[in-house]
């Protein structure tokens, strides 16, 4: 708790900030961006932390081993009391919440499951799932709620197939994983904690069941190799599988829903895509850059770091704003405009450094297929309300719409 100043101090404005439009920067970002690549903000508890806004500085800091992701570090900063409370209750989450060498050991275990050939082999299955969901939506008829009828069940079915979670158990997670990652508001901290505990318990049981009756998912491979060889125990394996299951759900579903809104509100860009589907992979990168749904990634400095003319002291909190880095005018021309033809490849919307998203290539395939299938099959799709009237997630969780009514 160093450098505490009153929250009304304009030199370090209150953070995180709330988006008015689900895909545009919050109003206060304009000013933050003008202050240079590294600035200061004040968190809910009055603590001041560094805010990284520049693309180059961010790309230098993300891979720096002196910046720690260890949520159990006493100086680790939290964006909201609910996240602080959730973390104090249990051990650090695997992968995202630990540093090397523990991180490297866990990451090595799971990367074979997310390789490019694996993802390519899953594409036909993803296409089948998307087509099936659209069939069902068309059958039930307009209007529909896109998040629960399409954007959420798609990644849910895909990650369950990849992990080897039985199809009939899917509904169980759809609800619970939403509570873990995106819930906000009154009483929902407790709900999030309960949901995570239930998912963990379920996976613990599933692993025991699969030890007796092996199947053909990533969990089965991890049991056959890592668990059998003793490089992981039941508890750690269940934690890793829970993390994969939860992160595979919410992130991608938020992107499918918010991406749909963004495309529908930029009809000229959508028309380009409809005319030439080869633009789709680039459009997905641009959607990732433009919406930056995992905006704020937290770190704590484990040692002093000299950067951009400042010294980040050991113990200081550091907030990495992927949205500001992705809208840095020094990295992109006209960064606040949505342009599916630009080369958005250097965005940090999947993070950067050792924690960069392990599911990124799976997510890319899911998004491409989800948008292509949806706009091909329901060409008259529209959202009956303006995007700034849609209910949004809280600023300290994954960004996105909490509901998406559609008609055709």
């Amino acid at each position: 708790m160093q450098n505490t100043r009153p929250p009304e101090d304009t030199a370090a404005p209150a953070y995180p900030m709330t988006r008015a439009c689900p895909y545009q920067m919050p109003v206060g970002y304009e000013e933050l961006r003008e202050r240079g690549p590294l600035t200061k903000v004040t968190l809910y508890d009055g603590r001041q932390v560094w805010l990284v806004t520049g693309n180059e500085v961010g790309r230098a800091l993300f891979p720096d081993p002196r910046l720690s992701s260890d949520v159990l570090h006493p100086g680790f900063p939290f964006l909201a009391p609910r996240i602080a409370a959730q973390t104090q209750q249990r051990a650090a989450p695997p992968l995202v919440g630990v540093d090397d060498p523990q991180h490297g050991r866990q990451r090595r275990m799971v990367i074979p499951g997310f390789g490019i050939r694996r993802v390519a082999a899953l594409r036909p299955e993803i296409e089948r799932i998307a087509e099936g969901l659209v069939d069902e939506m068309l059958h039930r008829g307009s209007p529909a709620e896109l998040l629960s009828q399409y954007a959420l069940p798609l990644p849910s079915a895909v990650i369950c197939a990849l992990l080897g979670v039985p199809f009939e158990d899917r509904g169980y997670f759809d609800e619970r994983s939403r509570h873990v990652l995106s819930s906000s508001g009154e009483g929902e901290a407790e709900q999030a904690r309960k949901a995570f505990t239930e998912i963990l318990a379920y996976l613990y049981d599933l692993i025991a069941k699969k030890e007796k009756e092996p199947g053909d998912g990533l969990i089965d491979e991890l049991i056959a190799h890592q668990l059998a060889e003793g490089s992981v125990d039941h508890q750690e394996l269940a934690m890793i599988c829970s993390l994969l299951l939860v992160s595979g759900h919410e992130t991608t579903s938020n992107m499918i829903a918010l991406g749909t809104v963004t495309l529908l509100e930029h009809p000229d860009q959508l028309a380009l895509l409809r005319a030439d589907e080869s633009l789709l992979p680039g459009a997905v990168e641009e959607l990732m850059r433009f919406t930056s749904i995992g905006d704020v990634l937290m770190r704590v400095a484990a040692e002093d770091i000299e950067v951009a003319g400042h010294t980040i002291r050991a113990g200081d909190g550091v907030a990495m704003s992927t949205m500001l880095m992705n809208r840095d005018p020094r990295a992109w021309e006209d960064p606040d405009s949505f342009d599916v033809r630009r080369s958005a490849g250097r965005h940090v919307a999947f993070g950067y450094g050792i924690h960069q998203c392990i599911g990124q290539n799976l997510a890319r395939a899911e998004m491409e297929i989800a948008f292509r299938t949806l706009f091909r099959r329901i060409p008259g799709l529209r959202v009956p309300v303006r995007s700034d009237e849609l209910p949004l997630n809280a600023p300290y969780v994954l960004q996105g719409v909490a509901e998406l009514p559609v008609e055709w």
Binding site: I354, Q356, N361
Partner: protein
Amino acid sequence: MGVSVATDRCIGAALCAMTAPEVFTQDDDGVGQLLPGGSERAGDPSVKEAARACPVQAIILHG
């Protein structure tokens, strides 16, 4: 001019194989790997781009 992959550092993001598929691939463990003859193309612009894309700077350009 040469290129190599620091496999001990690789986190399997596969950005190298996506950016320069004629030079890099992934081995069965999901780790970045040079394709046969890949190092001869070390001067290609796509290899430079891959080195920039790699989140852990595991694509090493020599010379």
